[in-house]
């Protein structure tokens, strides 16, 4: 349904944000995983008609995004990572307006629809408060509401759960997966768990490139039997990094651990662990770095 081909984008300061990105997505939730500054937001914005690429095409259900942005916008739901609001306008008024913009012309229907939506994101009781007086979490929920408005066929959400408490986060995940049954949903995040929980399909994105694409479980399984853990002294980390492909290091119960990737058992003190998507994610990113070296 969504086909991205050979997308390139270089900023005036020389940063190559998109490097020959090609991607094909079908209905369902798609997770885009990548570190900060990987170019995720650039990709999202470009799909969301907010930015031009230097070259390449994006096609969604026969709509050429660069040539017919207005067509895409009609079926798009977009929640950017960092956005603002009209401070002097109430949540209900703004959503009603956006509902109008999204073509919901029947005013009675619109009123109920907006009320439902406000209720879904738990903002109904604040509907008359000016958006400028919203807290960060409330604002984020407003953002979710506007993105979900009007049954979009393509939903792009960029770091959507930032600033939400765990309860709200679950609520949002439920909403999102409900919608994912009928639409293409792109979830950009650096929280690996979100992808694991929600997505059937994903890609790891770094330095403007898609490193790998596939089912999270399948991808994670490629490392089965190859991830080992060792408790070490923190001073020994440097030496270890020279010797092994270190995926991550972390503290657990006050002890310092490293995870390494290795085709064979790496040696004494290492134990094979049950690997997950996070390990795969680090593996991908590390591999990229190694390739660069």
């Amino acid at each position: 349904m969504l086909t991205i081909q050979n997308l390139n984008k270089t900023y005036p300061n020389g940063t190559q944000a998109l490097n020959n990105v090609s991607l094909t997505l079908e209905k369902g939730m798609f997770g885009l995983l990548g570190p900060n500054g990987a170019g995720k937001s650039t990709l999202m914005r470009t799909i969301a008609t907010l930015q031009l690429a230097d070259s390449g095409t994006i096609d969604f259900d026969g709509i050429d995004v660069f040539k017919q942005p207005q067509e895409l916008r009609k079926i798009l739901g977009y929640l950017p990572q960092d956005f603002g609001v009209y401070p002097k306008v109430s949540a209900e008024m703004m959503l009603t307006h956006i509902a109008k913009v999204k073509g919901i012309t029947n005013s009675k229907e619109r009123k109920n629809y907006v009320a439902d939506l406000l209720n879904k994101v738990n903002l109904y009781k604040f509907r008359n408060r000016n958006l400028g007086d919203f807290s960060g979490g409330m604002r984020q929920r407003f953002g979710i509401a506007q993105a979900l408005l009007g049954n979009p066929k393509l939903i792009i959400v960029d770091e959507p759960t930032a600033g939400l408490d765990p309860l709200e986060r679950n609520r949002f995940h439920n909403l999102l997966s409900e919608l994912g049954e009928n639409a293409v949903v792109i979830l950009s995040t650096h929280i690996v768990d979100d992808v694991t929980n929600l997505c059937k399909n994903m890609a790891v994105f770094n330095e403007g490139k898609i490193l790998v694409q596939g089912n999270p479980q399948t991808l994670s399984d490629t490392l089965n039997g190859k991830v080992y853990r060792k408790q070490i002294d923190i001073a020994a980390l440097d030496a270890l990094e020279n010797e092994y492909t270190v995926l991550s290091n972390y503290l657990r119960g006050g002890q310092f651990y490293v995870s390494v990737y290795s085709d064979a058992h790496p040696g004494e003190g290492f134990e094979l662990i049950h690997n997950d998507l996070e390990d795969f994610y680090f593996y991908c990113i590390n591999k990229k770095e190694e390739a660069a070296i």
Partner: protein
């Protein structure tokens, strides 16, 4: 502390903004100094003018002070450094002090550059060869140093401390705006108070900047004092500076001791209670989505509403609107007055005064919010999600413009609402809603549209808020300045928002002016609409990083759909521009000031040789004038009987066209029946030379007929007030004159154009030819005058003389006037729809004189004051001087394009602004309808029966004597106490105006240009003389003078010396000094009471001992002190009780003792016994003498 101070300094010095402010300060000062100009004998770089450059800059600097002093604490909040900064080990006090001193050092740097700019500017000025600018004096450092310290530095500290304090406690930029506006308000109020004699003492306290305080101190300074006195660090000025410095310090100390950064960091969010309501979902599952044209329109409206509310609800907008409203009400309350007497709150005054203030605020609001509309959704990142919604580019773009239009509609409506409220509060309910709507929607609103579209476009294109504002201001103010000064053009098509001029009138309404204004409004709206459509192509949606990308988008957007409106608008614009240009520049002309100077200079070089040459003079004139008010055309025919009054023959007839309108043509000139054609034609200066068929021999008479046609074509960039739809008013210059006269009088301008300097404009009193010319018109002595006028059927046409016939013909009204007396060649014609109020006055001889007031049907209120003034003056002058020679006297209202009254024989045209619209309800207010009428009626004697000669000083025969006569009528009407308010005004005006004397200040006998001398000083002098010599004696002298010179029977016209002699002769020897002082000298008294004590005597009466100090100083014509008088003067002294009030509740002085005494120079002590206990002792207590400090003439008496 030092570290914070140095950090602030280093940070500031690295910021480009600091250097931009410094450069601007320098540039503004330099430009103002270069263009400083002096048309008087004041040096261009006199200490006063230097203060005049530096002082106003310190007001402009509010912006810079706000930017530098207001932000340092705010910066820590805005950049979110406060959180970390305040955790560092620094004390609050050193934080505040360091930030404050650091900023103040930067402000000092700015101030130093302002001073250097001023020095540079004046320096450059010296090297530019500009004779018309005046002369320079040598450099004096203290002239710059004193204003630097006492104006710039103190203002910077006070204003800076205020802003610093406001920001530290309120943490909001709008509060700074508010603070700045309040300061400006105080400054403005203190300036308005300056013009009120009773309240001006408040000025030095209220003015935060010191400029007004200085103006107050130097109010009565002479030119010499302006040239030599430095900024006076004493008296009211010093008081003002100390006061405001203290206020500044208090603000600083408050900040210093009360600032608490814990509080500062607390965000001001209120916790609102959360409503707990349950929602039952309606379970709408499927919604229908429709994207059609109609939804697009709805989207546009809906988004416009949101954009509108975003502005309308913003606190800055509300604050600025409220301040604008308050300010405009304050200013209309203050400004809507004439001679200190309030005007009625007529709709035309109310709309103009309110708009004058609020349109300034509105423009600022619209410019600011046009920028906000472009930038705010970007700045707060709303666009990040909003631009991805399925809303069209057009809706996005136009919604913001529609919101701004909505805001300007709010502003326009508030104009109207304030006006109606103001009228209602004042108990005035004759709202002219039509005028409110037409004025605000046809004149004001289009200007707002242009402002919005321009600033919006600039902001879209520039894409940087501050740079955008700067560019807008540049276009708004810079371009008109450039056009005016560099291209010397006043064409409204080059001045942004420029239109043709207009004045509002109750008689004439909007007149014919809306045509030109509407075309030019359309011109500018189309012009900015083109920008709007171009701006749409450049509108940024989403993220665009490079110019190339932006350009790609623009190219993409160029489609038929977007280009078509652009092309259509452009075509319409070109058409409208062409039509406007055709009207303004092709069928009419626009002549800049310096261009007309050039023409006049060239003409003088060519025609000066004709000055004083023999030319025909008129003995009889019968004129036929047809006025077509609707077409605004005049057809005039004059049958002149002319005579050669000279010793030599005249073979050439010279005609110089004087009529102000440009479309006037001489249709036919017939001399004794022979049609003449010009032998030389100068159509630029409008001079025509005709050869007479036979030379006109001395004393030979001839018939001359002149036919002229004066038209108006299309719309012009001038008001063309001669013929209006209702209220035409023109005079004898509808016909050309027969002689040339120079028109450039300013010596600087003359030197610039290579003409000789003129010390005196008129010939000396010894010039025997000049004695045979009258001051007003060389073309005739006394003539017989008749006029046959015709006008539209519903109008009345009036010319001097008795109406002898009135009829209708061809649907037009005809009037035939014939003058009973003889008159100089000086007549007027007026035509309008009038109501007439009639009254009469009977002369002592029994002759009945009809008094007629021709007035607008809307102006019935003050008619009895005009009638009273006319009756009293007719009576006084007839009884004391000579019987009024005509049987009719008319006062005729003309539209408000000017504010004056002018006396023609039997007919006095009077501006509708001048008395008809005044509110004389309060008896204490000066009733100028009465007084000006008396003055103008007195001109029937002093100008029309006795006409001054064309010599230096002679104009006092006309103006000073008319003023004297009206003063005497006032004295008899209101008593001596009653004219005090008038004399107070005269004294103030004379003393204030001395510094602006165009030529050196002349004595009364020599005055040529100077209303403050012939009216104000003249009335002071004449009042004092009649007071000491006696009214009867003076009148006897004037009667003799009038009889000697009346009607040119003597064959010469009188001079000021003749008048002087007449008065001098009747003065007793002991008082001749006063006549001489008054007429021939410039004399100022310094009288004051130095001590006064009283004690109760045994018999219950009071013995008061008081000392008065008297000093009389003679000055030369530059205001330099010549000598102090050492002889005695006859001056009034007195003792007074508590003021009493008369029947009309006007306060009056209550003298227990009042007598004139011969006072020695210096101290004189008197002991006087009165029955009642006196409260105040005084010397010259009624301020009859010219004294710059009249306040100390009275002193409270202490009881022993």
């Amino acid at each position: 502390m030092i570290e914070i101070f140095l950090f602030e300094l280093r940070y500031r010095l690295k910021r480009p903004a600091t250097w931009i402010y410094v450069t601007l300060g320098f540039a503004i000062a330099a430009v103002m100094a270069v263009f400083e100009k002096s048309v008087t004998a004041q040096f261009i770089n006199s200490p006063n003018n230097i203060i005049g450059v530096i002082g106003p800059i310190s007001i402009i600097c509010i912006f810079f002070y706000a930017a530098i002093m207001g932000v340092p604490i705010f910066r820590d909040k805005d950049h979110k450094t406060a959180q970390t900064y305040f955790t560092f080990p620094i004390t609050q006090k050193s934080y505040v002090l360091g930030r404050f001193l650091g900023s103040y050092t930067i402000v000092t740097l700015l101030n130093i550059f302002i001073v250097i700019g001023a020095i540079t500017g004046f320096g450059i000025g010296i090297f530019l060869d500009r004779a018309d600018y005046g002369t320079y004096t040598s450099f004096n450092l203290s002239s710059y140093l004193l204003p630097f310290i006492f104006l710039l530095q103190i203002n910077a500290l006070t204003i800076g401390a205020l802003f610093f304090c406001l920001m530290a406690f309120f943490k909001k930029m709008p509060i700074i705006y508010l603070g700045g506006i309040c300061l400006f308000l105080l400054y403005s109020i203190s300036g308005d108070l300056m013009s009120s004699l009773d309240n001006q003492w408040l000025t030095p306290y209220l003015d935060p900047f010191g400029n007004r305080a200085f103006s107050f101190v130097k109010k009565y300074w002479s030119i010499n004092e302006l040239n030599s006195n430095q900024l006076p660090i004493s008296g009211s000025f010093l008081l003002n500076r100390i006061l405001w410095l203290l206020i500044g310090l208090i603000f600083f100390l408050i900040t210093f001791f009360r600032f608490d950064y814990k509080k500062f960091l607390l965000s001001g969010k209120k916790t609102t209670s959360i409503p707990t309501e349950q929602y039952t979902p309606s379970k709408v599952t499927a919604v229908l989505q429709v994207f059609s044209k109609k939804t697009e329109w709805n989207n546009l409206l809906s988004l416009s509403k949101i954009e509108f509310l975003s502005i309308f609800k913003s606190p800055v907008f509300i604050i600025m609107l409220i301040i604008g409203v308050l300010f405009s009400i304050f200013s209309i309350y203050n400004l809507n007055e004439t001679y200190g007497t309030p005007n009625l709150p007529l709709t035309r005054y109310v709309v103009m005064y309110i708009n004058g203030v609020i349109s300034f605020f509105s423009t600022v609001i619209l410019v600011i919010y046009s920028g906000e509309a472009v930038h705010s959704t970007r700045k707060n990142k709303t666009f990040v999600f909003y631009d991805a919604l399925p809303i069209s580019n057009s809706s996005l773009y136009f919604s913001k413009i529609i919101a701004l239009l909505g805001i300007s509609l709010v502003l326009v409506v508030s104009n109207i609402v304030i006006g109606i409220l103001f009228q209602s509060i004042n108990g005035y309910f004759e709202y002219d809603l039509g005028m409110y709507f037409t004025y605000n929607f046809a004149l004001v609103f289009p200007g707002f549209i242009m402002t919005i579209l321009l600033s919006f476009f600039v902001h879209v294109l520039v894409n940087n808020k501050f740079l955008g504002h700067f560019v807008v201001i540049l276009i708004y103010f810079g371009v008109p300045l450039l056009v005016t000064f560099a291209f010397k053009s006043s064409n409204p098509m080059y001045m942004f928002t420029g239109t043709t001029p207009i004045f509002l009138s109750d008689l004439n309404g909007f007149g014919h002016y809306l045509t030109g204004i509407s075309w030019l409004n359309l011109y500018w709206i189309l012009c900015t609409a083109i920008l709007m459509f171009i701006g749409k192509l450049f509108w940024i949606r989403g993220f665009f990083t490079t110019a190339k990308e932006r350009f790609t988008i623009v190219k993409q957007r160029v489609t038929t759909k977007t280009i078509l409106p652009l092309v259509l608008t452009s075509i319409a614009f070109i058409a409208v521009a062409g039509y406007s240009y055709y009207n303004l520049k092709v069928i009419n002309t626009i002549v800049g000031g310096s261009h007309s100077e050039k023409i006049a200079a060239a003409a003088e070089k060519k025609y000066a040789k004709y000055m004083g040459q023999p030319h025909p003079q008129v003995t009889d004139l019968k004129t036929y004038i047809d006025i077509f008010p609707k077409e605004r055309t005049i057809k005039a025919k004059g049958d002149f009987k002319i005579i050669n009054n000279y010793d030599t023959a005249i073979d050439t007839l010279l005609l110089e066209v004087q009529y102000p309108g440009e479309h006037i043509s001489l249709q036919a000139i017939r001399y004794n029946g022979t049609v003449l054609t010009p032998v030389v034609t100068d159509s630029v200066y409008r001079m025509y030379f005709y050869k007479l068929p036979d030379a006109m021999q001395p004393n030979e008479q001839a018939d001359l007929t002149i036919e002229v046609l004066a038209e108006t074509k299309g719309f012009a960039n001038s008001m063309e007030t001669q013929v209006l739809h209702n209220g035409s008013f023109f005079n004898n210059n509808i016909f050309p004159r027969f002689y040339y006269e120079r028109s450039l009088v300013d010596n600087g301008v003359r030197v610039k154009h290579g003409l000789e300097k003129l010390n005196y404009l008129f010939p000396p009193r010894t010039d025997s030819t000049a004695l045979r010319k009258n001051l007003f018109n060389e073309d005739a002595n006394y003539i017989n005058f008749e006029a046959v006028l015709s006008t539209a059927n519903d109008q009345t046409a009036i010319a001097p003389g008795k109406l002898i016939k009135e009829w209708q013909e061809n649907d037009r009204a005809y009037y035939h006037y014939k003058l009973e007396s003889q008159s100089d060649l000086f007549f007027n014609v007026v035509s309008a729809r009038y109501d007439v109020k009639k009254s009469s006055w009977t002369a002592p001889s029994g002759k009945k004189v009809t008094i007629e007031i021709y007035h607008s049907a809307k102006h019935k209120r003050n008619l009895e004051h005009f009638i009273k003034g006319a009756q009293v003056a007719l009576d006084y002058c007839s009884k004391n001087f000579y019987e009024y020679p005509n049987s009719v006297l008319r006062i005729v209202e003309f539209p408000a394009h000017a504010t004056f009254a002018q006396s023609f024989v039997t007919t006095i045209p009077y501006s509708e602004n001048f008395g008809f619209a005044a509110n004389f309800d309060k008896a204490a207010d000066f009733n100028y309808a009465f007084r000006v009428t008396a003055h103008e009626v007195a001109h029937q004697w002093w100008a029309h029966i006795v006409t001054p000669s064309k010599t230096t000083g002679a104009n006092i025969i006309s103006e000073t004597l008319a003023e004297y006569s009206s003063l005497m009528t006032m004295k008899h009407e209101y008593g001596e106490n009653g004219i005090k308010s008038f004399l107070k005004y005269s004294l103030d005006d004379y003393l204030r105006s001395r510094a602006f004397s165009f030529k050196p200040e002349r004595s009364l006998i020599n005055v040529e240009v100077g209303p403050h001398i012939w009216y104000r000083k003249g009335s002071m002098v004449m009042y004092e003389l009649q007071d000491i010599i006696g009214e009867d004696k003076i009148n006897k002298a004037l009667r003799g003078f009038l009889n000697e010179y009346k009607n040119y029977e003597k064959g010469v016209y009188p001079t000021s010396e003749n008048l002087y002699d007449a008065i001098y002769k009747v003065a007793p020897d002991s008082l001749k000094y006063a006549v001489e002082d008054g007429f021939k000298k410039i004399v100022l008294y310094e009288n004051r009471v130095t001590a006064a004590t009283t004690k109760e005597l045994d018999n219950g009466s009071y013995e008061t001992t008081f000392t008065v100090d008297s000093k009389k100083i003679y000055y030369d014509d530059t205001g330099k002190e010549e000598r102090t008088d050492d002889t005695t003067n006859y001056i009034e002294i007195g003792l007074f009780g508590k003021d009493i009030t008369d029947a009309q509740e006007v306060p009056l002085k209550n003298p227990y003792y009042l007598e004139r005494k011969w006072l020695q120079p210096g101290e004189n002590t008197f002991t006087i016994i009165t029955d009642k206990k006196p409260i105040k002792a005084g010397i010259d207590p009624y301020n009859k003498l010219i004294d710059r400090n009249s306040g100390d003439n009275l002193k409270p008496i202490e009881e022993e």
